[in-house]
Symmetry: C2
Subunit: 343 residues, 2 copies
């Protein structure tokens, strides 16, 4: 047995295929073919090489391999979502989808700095990434960096992209319908909508879907993405004369939180008097409200998974149809509306 007489092969550096070849008593080419399951050789030889490789702990150098194959099994994820509320679930989905294929992910947070973005893109290209996924915190804004005419494929996940690109985003209208229909199904008749700035595309989508079902008995209340706005909006509604809503559909979970707090301060019971539903299903927020918040989940992890599989397909040269793909939201039922999924 030539192999096994060393735990720490004297020479410097990692174990290469050359060491495997020597230990197995074959040439480098034969070793390579044996390990990759290609080429012609005796079954006995192939097994011996494989065994030896395992014994001495050989792992192929991905750099060398990538140099030749022009595939680095690496992709870049570019995001301006510093806080990571949207990007992290997306990232988790991407990673989950790609780890099986041996692909690793460079994460680059570029804030909103075009120069920094440029630097990171160039660094990733230098490292021969197989593709780039652009991600953000807003569906109707682009990253501050030009990703057209890159030598690698690009897909966009939860961020705006150019017309002929592949874009994944949540179906906010469908998500809003889910929420409002749920309220209707629970018997609610006067449903208010307190949401973020009208300048946000998501806000308009959600408000549009809301209005289609709920009508215009209650006006949509646009504001900012903050608890304080939720509280203030409730104050406005309850200082008005006339009938009060029996349900409030909120543009995100922070607003919903403010709404719930304000309702409790007015001794209005949730969900008995008023049902509240949020958007984003930001667990750390939704689970800590009193009562826990029923909320629309945008399925960002699934979105990341799709984006990952798509960039992989593109990297492998498979054709992928361009266009916007809306992925469905789903409703996470907690206690702030009453009811349960079995009802």
């Amino acid at each position: 047995m030539e192999a096994g007489l060393n735990l720490e092969e004297g020479k410097k550096g990692r174990i290469t295929i050359r060491d495997v070849a020597a230990a197995a008593g074959v040439s480098i080419s034969t070793a390579s073919k044996a390990l990759n399951g290609i080429g012609r050789m005796g079954e006995e030889t192939r097994e011996r090489v494989k065994r030896v490789a395992r014994e001495i702990g050989f792992r192929p150098n991905a750099l060398a391999r990538g140099l030749l194959s022009k595939r680095s099994f690496t992709i870049g994820l570019l995001t301006n979502d510093t806080y990571g509320r949207f990007t992290l679930p997306v990232m988790a989905g991407i990673s989950e989808a790609l780890v099986d294929h041996g692909v690793s992910v460079f994460l680059c947070a570029i804030e909103d700095d075009p120069a920094l973005g440029q630097i990171h893109v160039e660094a990733m290209l230098d490292k021969q990434v197989d593709g780039i996924i652009a991600s953000g915190k807003r569906l109707d804004r682009s990253l501050p960096v030009d990703l057209s005419n890159l030598p690698v494929p690009v897909v966009y996940a939860y961020t705006e992209g150019p017309p002929d690109s592949v874009i994944f985003r949540s179906d906010d209208a469908q998500g809003a319908r889910l929420a409002v229909e749920w309220l209707v199904k629970l018997g609610r008749r006067r449903i208010a909508h307190i949401t973020g700035p009208e300048s946000f595309f998501s806000v308009r989508e959600r408000a549009g879907a809301y209005a289609q079902i709920a009508g215009d008995a209650e006006p949509v209340m646009y504001g900012i993405w903050a608890e304080s706005w939720g509280r203030e909006a409730v104050a406005q509604i309850w200082s008005r004369s006339g009938e009060k809503p029996d349900a409030i559909f909120c543009g995100n979970d922070q607003i919903a939180r403010g709404v719930i707090d304000a309702l409790r301060e007015r001794a209005i019971r949730v969900p008995e008097d008023v049902s509240v539903v949020g958007f984003d299903n930001w667990e750390i927020m939704a689970e800590q409200t009193r009562p826990p918040l029923t909320s629309v989940d945008m399925g960002l992890k699934a979105l990341g998974r799709e984006a990952g599989l798509t960039i992989l397909a593109l990297a492998e040269g498979k054709p992928v149809e361009a266009g916007v793909r809306k992925l469905p939201c789903h409703l996470v039922v907690r206690e702030s509306c009453g009811g349960s999924l079995e009802d």
Copy 2:
């Protein structure tokens, strides 16, 4: 001018140094030396090569370069902090410190799955990372993966590591002192401490520092890391007979949030009647409380920066002293205590 007659060099693939050499009418070696500012050659030649390279948009292939230099200018960040509350600031710091050096970061979220961790570590090693930074969500827990005896350096950032390793962590005792001394300075005399599970090292550190200053007039109240515990603890305190605290030092911002909510429900004014201070300075939480929460910031970004620079030094073969490095916390003053930094 040989260069410039093509926007899209007919052949396939990216632009290599061979193209630069041809376009500049020199050999590959000369081109390389010119671009790297080494070797001997006429100043005119050097400038011409550089100019041509710029014109045709040459960028060296990092894979090829890494193959030779055995430096990939890539590091891995391993974390089990899925939610990213701790890892993201650390990551931002690392990235910020390393981008200037052309180093990119693989982010691998491994949940608490040892098998997944192993896969990611091996993938990173195959890709010849120059080093690995392990990070987590708890100072007294290790990642579920063995990082000893790796062929690359490892540093630990906000997670437990083996005795002879380089570990960066926040100085929680100092942070707690900062908070309590601030309360004392504002004239508070009965300071309570509502915090997380005693099993957490951070909790014991913070509680220890608290007790040293505040004494044992108020017992430390251990619970869970949730708003509900903050509310419940306040209920307990105010249902007891005897003098009530005039300040509450909370183990994290979520607890502080619950405390503030519970105090308001009792019509106890913050900060007039009771000062509240949190820990973590989790902005999205601290800024949305009423009033905004004064909180201890653990300086995770700086921690990441230090970890990044250290792994870089190790990768370059510079000696680095092993041991635990505690990085200082600082106090972010908002309104929940009264007072301002100028006082």
